[in-house]
């Protein structure tokens, strides 16, 4: 059977899915990028291949799509048919898995976005611009500081009995506020709940500003695993929130679906095969000296051949 590979290389996680022709997800991987996207992509491909073999189904990868902030890197390594931004990928995935969806709330590692869909097409979107307050990284950081595993962080918020207000505008101020409240003697559950409410408030005021949030509402991205944030959203929006089964790999699902659409138009895949996981890839960078812009140009090597180059503002270094 034909299937499509979707790869989402984000700041915090690298996700890989394999989506069949029947729109079934048969492989879904959520790996930490840990600041090493190249190695993580290779490791992910290896794992995906092993899982695929375990399934013992006759699967042929007919197309590949990449998305996320590392989409160009992943794209040149695997030979992607589609390289798409994460906003489009997330919208496509939600429409595929939750037909009729009208609003998508997405909170990832470094960014958060809202996507408005009407009659199946994206009509409006917004993405956090200057500030990372209210994204996964900050929650990660606070969980680490409080020594609570991130998986339990949200559930703890649900045990809160009293409201504690935390400033959510800026992570630096939020943290000092949390420390202040903790030293005053508030319970941890209350403080974490306060943080969840603050993040949601900040998200709705900043990213969701001026947008009409209509149901069905889907909440996806890594932070959707957090029960406290989920509860805060339901309470502040006043509508039930749907968390799709593959909420943390939706970008990859969307990339796979986009590849599927592309291949259905009659193109042949550029996929280089799972063997790329065993090949040598490295990156190097240099500062261009042709003008004072001093662009930091990055090169990607496959064995000894340059397969990708970016970072330049003028076309001088285009491949």
């Amino acid at each position: 059977m034909k299937a499509y590979l979707g790869i989402d290389v984000g700041s915090v996680s690298t996700n890989i899915v394999i989506l069949t022709e029947n729109k079934e997800v048969i492989v879904s991987l959520y790996l930490r990028t840990s600041g090493r996207p190249l190695e993580t992509i290779k490791r992910g491909l290896k794992e995906a291949y092993e899982q695929l073999n375990k399934e013992k189904k006759d699967i042929e990868i007919a197309g590949v799509g990449t998305t996320g902030s590392g989409r160009y890197l992943a794209g040149v390594i695997v030979g992607a048919d589609v390289i798409k931004n994460e906003i489009t990928a997330h919208a496509v995935a939600a429409s595929l898995l939750v037909p009729g969806v009208q609003t998508i709330l997405e909170i990832g590692g470094q960014d958060s976005k809202i996507i408005i869909i009407r009659n199946g097409i994206v009509t409006d979107f917004a993405m956090n611009t200057v500030c990372a307050a209210g994204t996964g990284s900050f929650l990660d950081q606070q969980a680490a500081r409080l020594n609570i595993p991130i998986d339990e962080f949200g559930n703890l918020a649900l045990q809160s009995k009293t409201k504690v207000r935390i400033a959510g505008r800026c992570t630096v101020f939020a943290e000092s506020d949390m420390i202040h409240k903790q030293q005053m003697g508030h319970s941890l559950a209350d403080i974490i709940n306060g943080l969840c409410e603050a993040l949601v408030r900040n998200y709705l005021n900043n990213v969701g500003k001026g947008k009409e949030i209509l149901p069905p509402i889907v909440f996806q991205g890594g932070v959707a695993a957090n029960a406290g944030i989920r509860a805060a959203f339901e309470q502040q929006i006043g509508h039930p929130i749907i968390i799709p089964k593959y909420f943390n790999v939706m970008g990859a699902v969307g990339a796979a679906q986009l590849a599927r659409e592309k291949i259905q138009q009659g193109e042949r895949t550029k996929f280089k095969g799972f063997e790329v996981a065993d090949m040598n890839y490295r990156t190097s960078s240099f500062e261009c000296t042709y003008c004072p812009n001093a662009c930091e140009v990055v090169e990607v090597y496959e064995e000894d051949k340059v397969i990708g180059r970016w970072g330049n503002r003028c076309p001088r270094w285009d491949l």
Binding site: N85, I121, D124, F125, P315
Partner: protein
């Protein structure tokens, strides 16, 4: 004569240079703003000043390094904070110990005597009549160049999204600018313009390509200086988008020094239901242009402005309503010191996807009817 220079703003420098040379000056061409320019500007500018301020200050410092002795500016009677920018910049230069002469021109209509007094400083003619006559002649010729330059830029907007080989248009556009820069007489300007048009027409294009039409509006400096907006027009062109920009220096000059353009008047009129007052800068015009683009059935509009630009912030808030009422998607970018293109590319790509799907749906509906 002393070596004269001025800030960089898109291709306008080519026309300024022609004008100043005709008045008998030795002109130093301002360099295209780069990361170095910005670094210099950021270092010596107040933290809260906007991006154009920082770029211009950085350019002045680079020009001094290049040997400029006279720096020119225009304060245009303070449409926004811009009105006091040059005065502050010159104070900064003085405090840094740079011994440069600075001449700041205001509106000639508003302060004609002062204008002539300043004009004489950059003219080799000392009699008022002769000075004005020479200025008139030089201005007319510079104007001819500016018109040709704007025309070339408009051609690049049309052809870039349709070019077969990516980057050809940008190359041709640069070449055309150089030809116009080298042209000294009226006939040479006309010849350069003809050659430019021909070069543009010779670019191989795909006339069948489905090209989106997007209006670009907002604050004047980030609109006119590609280095300040991370070359947004070029990026859009490469994504298959034809850009129509709301502002060109020729239009601005007519609106502010001449009798005004129809385009400007209709933008003010169109903005009336949303904002009947002048709020400084081009906030009111931005709103009007979006309404007009919507009426002309554009696929979408992109508003660009420097971070902290008050008139554009006001306009942005009102644009939510305009966007809804006129069913036109609007995307806003505020530019600051960031030089990484990634965030902007992601949003642009998503916006263009949105416009494409919207157009596809419209076409399907039209076909069904």
């Amino acid at each position: 004569m002393k070596k004269v220079s001025f800030p960089h703003m898109g291709h306008a420098g080519i026309a300024f240079k022609s004008l100043l040379e005709d008045l008998g000056n030795e002109v130093i061409m301002p360099p295209v703003p780069t990361k170095k320019t910005l670094d210099l500007g950021v270092k010596y500018a107040p933290e809260f000043a906007c991006l154009p301020y920082k770029i211009v200050l950085g350019t002045y410092l680079e020009l001094i390094e290049m040997g400029a002795e006279v720096l020119l500016a225009f304060d245009s009677y303070g449409p926004c904070r811009f009105g006091h920018y040059s005065h502050l910049q010159f104070l900064t230069l003085k405090n840094l110990g740079h011994d440069v002469e600075v001449i700041c021109f205001g509106y000639p209509k508003r302060e004609p005597i002062e204008f002539i007094r300043k004009l004489k400083k950059v003219s080799k003619h000392k009699s008022t009549i002769k000075c004005l006559y020479e200025f008139y002649k030089a201005f007319k010729k510079g104007w001819e160049k500016l018109k040709a330059l704007d025309y070339m830029e408009k051609l690049s907007h049309k052809i870039r999204p349709r070019e077969l080989k990516r980057g050809t248009t940008t190359k041709v556009y640069k070449q055309a600018q150089q030809w116009l820069d080298e042209a000294k007489t009226y006939s040479q300007i006309a010849e350069a313009k003809e050659a430019g048009i021909k070069a543009f027409n010779d670019i191989s294009i795909d006339p069948e390509r489905e090209v989106l039409k997007v209006g670009l509006t907002g604050e004047i400096y980030v609109l006119l200086e590609p280095a300040s907006n991370l070359e947004i027009e070029e990026t859009l062109g490469h994504m298959g988008v034809e850009v129509e920009r709301s502002m060109f220096l020729t239009g601005w000059t007519q609106d502010n020094l001449g009798s005004g353009t129809q385009d400007h008047a209709s933008a003010i009129e169109a903005a009336k239901p949303y904002l009947p007052y002048k709020i400084g800068g081009h906030g009111r015009e931005t709103i009007g242009h979006v309404v007009n683009y919507a009426k002309r059935k554009f696929d979408g509009v992109i508003q660009i402005a420097p971070f902290t630009c008050t008139p554009e912030i006001v306009a942005r808030t009102i644009l939510n309503k305009v966007s809804k009422e006129h069913d036109i998607p609007v995307l806003t970018f505020f530019f600051d010191e960031q030089t990484a293109k990634a965030g902007i590319t992601t949003r642009l790509e998503a916006f263009i996807d949105l416009l494409r799907r919207k157009r596809l749906e419209k076409n399907q509906v039209a076909a069904a009817i």
